[in-house]
Symmetry: C2
Subunit: 547 residues, 2 copies
């Protein structure tokens, strides 16, 4: 499989210049005024669950950790910054940048692959003001799309049901080469089984799949192009069999069985199938709709698959790439059963049908409601571009500086931030379903199982009360003193976590349409701090001339 050292070298290559220029001008202004080492705390969160849903998945942490670990400016980086920052910039600032790393940064984070909700602070980034400011754009960039596309994949997985296998095939529609790579990684984590992207398999160990495109089929016109024309049996019998004649015999019998007009069968398509089957007799899964499924593709498939079966091989299945996938798949399955009954080929019992045709979340959900026989669904454009909502909108907000809680006060309570360093607890009911995430001050004792606690909602003064049956602390320290302090998970491990986390979520929150909204609450102490700062802000020394 993949060489982890290579994988690491590519994933670690997010350069510290991949950020917005204003991070540097602000870092300089902090440095210039001597505030760059002040302890500061930022929180990363999003304000609305994506796709009109009731939840999101948190992803991208792995990449953030690699980024933090390797965060360092090269001489070349600093030379470039010298050329773009204003000429007034003190040369000593560039020396400062040259020596910068994340040894002073501590990251507390929700584990990657966890179900999360709008307004829960997912990451807390604490460290010297100038450094944690510089990290903003890169961390947002690494979390935003990863979480979005992972959540999108999870929704496709929910829409598809657990039985069906899902193939990601969006590379050609993604935002350039590495947009595609990111998509492949995080859709796998979100619940897809396979990707078409070979480089993703190489880097992340993601299972890869794919067989043939229409161009392969249409590149053949005649059986004369098939070479070799023979195949040896799977049992190792050394005598090669004339595979073309064998298949032609089966084709006649198939036509007879189905009452099909043999005159509409495409020779080029048969040649393509034959040559592919001879090359890969164990992996025969052609695309059967290049011309006509019923009049040509399905007949050719059955003939080749019957010939393969006769030689002891197990054909894999077919791909449908156009038209009404459901009704076609039912027709195709019926023919497979008929062949099995009539020719006694048990291999036809386990043939798989792959459907790929501009599948959206909606068409996936519809597909799940209609009668169909599709075993594997391939999804490209709608999955990787997240057509339904192409950005998540994570933000990174200052909540404390020099030990002083700060908050952005907006007339819209949803746009205000929640001040101070916090702990986040997830409360579960007696059935193990999470039902409330409680944002507390870091210094508060955690909620106790079986003990009633009161809480508040943002922008609402009424007091609510609840008794948790279980409590977990949602975040953990994952990076400090320049070191990753929690084992990095492979894509496969994180993928398993996603499923565990989703399984515990109550169906009412998991519904794709009109879910019940999940409660994200503030502790009484947080609420008090918010109220104090709001009150203070409107009548104290924050104003230049207190009248």
């Amino acid at each position: 499989g993949a060489d982890p050292s290579e994988a690491r070298s590519i994933r670690e290559r997010v350069p510290p210049l991949l950020t917005d220029l204003y991070q540097f001008t602000m870092a300089y202004a902090y440095w210039r005024t001597g505030r760059h080492r002040e302890p500061a705390v930022f929180e990363l969160f999003f304000r609305d669950n994506p796709f009109g849903g009731g939840f999101s998945l948190f992803a991208g942490l792995h990449d953030c950790l690699l980024f933090l670990r390797s965060f360092r400016f090269t001489d070349q980086d600093v030379d470039f910054l010298r050329s773009v920052l204003p000429p007034a910039t003190d040369p000593a600032f560039f020396e400062f940048l040259r020596g910068l790393d994340c040894s002073g940064v501590t990251l507390r984070s929700v584990p990657e692959g966890t179900v999360v909700f709008a307004r829960v602070p997912l990451m807390e980034v604490a460290g010297p003001l100038a450094v944690v400011q510089l990290l903003e754009t890169s961390l947002l960039c690494l979390v935003n799309y990863a979480s979005l596309v992972c959540s999108n994949a999870a929704r496709f997985r929910l829409a598809a049901g657990p039985r069906r296998r899902l193939l990601e095939m969006g590379l050609r529609r993604a935002q350039g080469p590495d947009g595609g790579l990111t998509a492949s990684r995080y859709t796998y984590i979100g619940g897809f089984d396979l990707t078409s992207n070979v480089q993703a398999g190489f880097l992340f160990g993601t299972p890869v799949a794919g067989t043939m495109a229409h161009s392969y089929v249409t590149s053949f016109t005649s059986l004369e192009e098939v070479w070799p024309q023979t195949l040896v049996a799977a049992n190792g019998d050394p005598d090669p069999v004339d595979f073309i004649s064998l298949t032609k015999g089966w084709l006649s019998r198939v036509c007879e069985l189905l009452g099909a007009e043999s005159g509409k069968i495409r020779e080029g398509e048969l040649a393509a199938f034959l040559s592919y089957a001879i090359a890969y007799p164990h992996n025969f899964l052609p695309v059967i709709d290049s011309y006509s499924v019923g009049c040509s593709g399905l007949l050719n498939f059955c003939a080749v698959a019957l010939a393969l079966s006769e030689l002891g091989y197990r054909p894999v299945g077919v791909r449908l790439d156009s038209g009404d996938l459901c009704s076609q798949s039912v027709d195709v399955r019926r023919v497979f059963k008929l062949c099995n009954e009539h020719f006694s080929v048990s291999t036809f019992d386990s043939l798989i049908i792959v459907g790929t045709n501009n599948i959206s979340e909606q068409s996936m959900a519809e597909l799940n409601k209609k009668e169909n026989e599709i075993d594997v669904v391939g999804v490209g454009t709608h999955l990787v571009t997240c057509t339904k909502q192409p950005s998540l909108g994570c933000v990174y907000k200052l909540v404390e500086v020099r030990g002083r809680p700060t908050m952005k006060i907006s007339e819209d309570p949803q746009k205000s931030t929640v001040p101070g360093r916090k702990a986040v607890y997830r409360l579960m009911d007696t059935e193990g379903h999470p039902f409330l995430d409680l944002v507390c001050l870091a210094v508060e004792p955690p909620p106790q199982v079986g003990v009633p606690l009161s809480y508040r909602l943002l922008g609402d003064d009424s007091v609510h009360s609840v008794t948790p049956a279980q409590v977990t602390c949602l975040r953990q320290e994952v990076f400090t003193r320049g070191e990753v302090t929690h084992p990095l998970c492979s894509a496969k491990e994180t993928r398993a976590k996603v499923q565990v986390s989703l399984q515990s979520l109550h169906p009412r929150h998991k519904r794709l349409q009109d879910p019940d909204s999940y409660t994200v609450a503030l502790s009484e102490k947080v609420h008090k701090l918010v109220t104090e700062i709001r009150r203070g802000s409107s009548n104290d020394s924050n104003f230049l001339w207190a009248n």
Copy 2:
């Protein structure tokens, strides 16, 4: 600026494994049947102009050329392929892959940065069947998003009008780190002036811009945090001036002039502005809506800017990041004019107003219709994710193999392909506006200026006639025998080409809403070939058993 060698090393790193697995299984099947060296020709095109518009821009060629030039499998790549391709794969195939490069490939392409239309073959990729098949996904990936986001940028540019400067700031919303980099490159090419993405400046020489975020402003609470508190005058006078006192004086006068309540002015905001101005006295452009534009931000700005002006510096302007940008900008401009008149500060005449607030193409167009004073618009999410249509849908279709034209026949004429090797000519009217792209066979003589020619439309049998006033050949050979045969353009050069190409386009095709559709036509010879293949396809040896 950027070191071109570094830039090259990153842009050339698209690995040949970044493709769909089926490209390899098909390449193997071609190889196994001895067809891998057959000369084949693919065409790359899209079927619909994006965003409901009348045109697109063609971009991504530069990256394609770097990809072709460096296309080679490493031992590690081949080892990985050995692990994912079926065990039946002949080991000699991996030797074949190991020796593969693009020395047999010829690419003819529309120049990057050209206005193009749906169904025009943009690229023709000719070479050994197995190689040109392997290139499919990577070329699509490199052209699709580049052309889409470049076209999106061009539409924002058209919506904004030529006067306004446009800043791309979408890094945090893009598909991961390199999705963001691709966005920055191609939005600049499409007509944006600036990017916030520093790494894009480093790699592509794109002008970068940015000053401060709200977090910078809210991190300050008191004037005590401002240090140093002095500034020397721009004329070099060595005596430092107490910049805080100077500004406070100006603030009183500004409040008096505007009849503003000084009691609502935020001390932290003033501290933030002062410290920034002291750090960068030549580059003062703060965000003024952290608290209240009218009650605090604008007053603080004017005071600091007046103090800077008194010391001989030229303040740059302000940024508005929320609310109604148009009406606020008008208010802000009015205050600037008032200050200028009242305090005789000419620097206030040329202050710029930057607006950034979730700008979409529509809000940009509306902004252009309403009275406003915004000089620079920053665009993020809607620009880089192309919310209006997040994928272009380029396809790559086989048009000739072993000298034989091939076509995909579909009941929907728009889904059929056009067979054979072609030349594409762009016909211009007497005013120099292109009005028709003519797809001819490569062997046909080009259309003659002033000579009437007849043409056909796809899926329509009627004959049309036209007389061009000018004719250009749309594509040129850009890669052959492993070499790039046409000078690679810098992002800046391609950006200029985009503007030239857009300027020649008639306004009726350039309209963002309900444009007139541009004619893409077939020559009589192409039409004849299509007809012959269609006819042949329905009654000849392409069928297995011609009845």
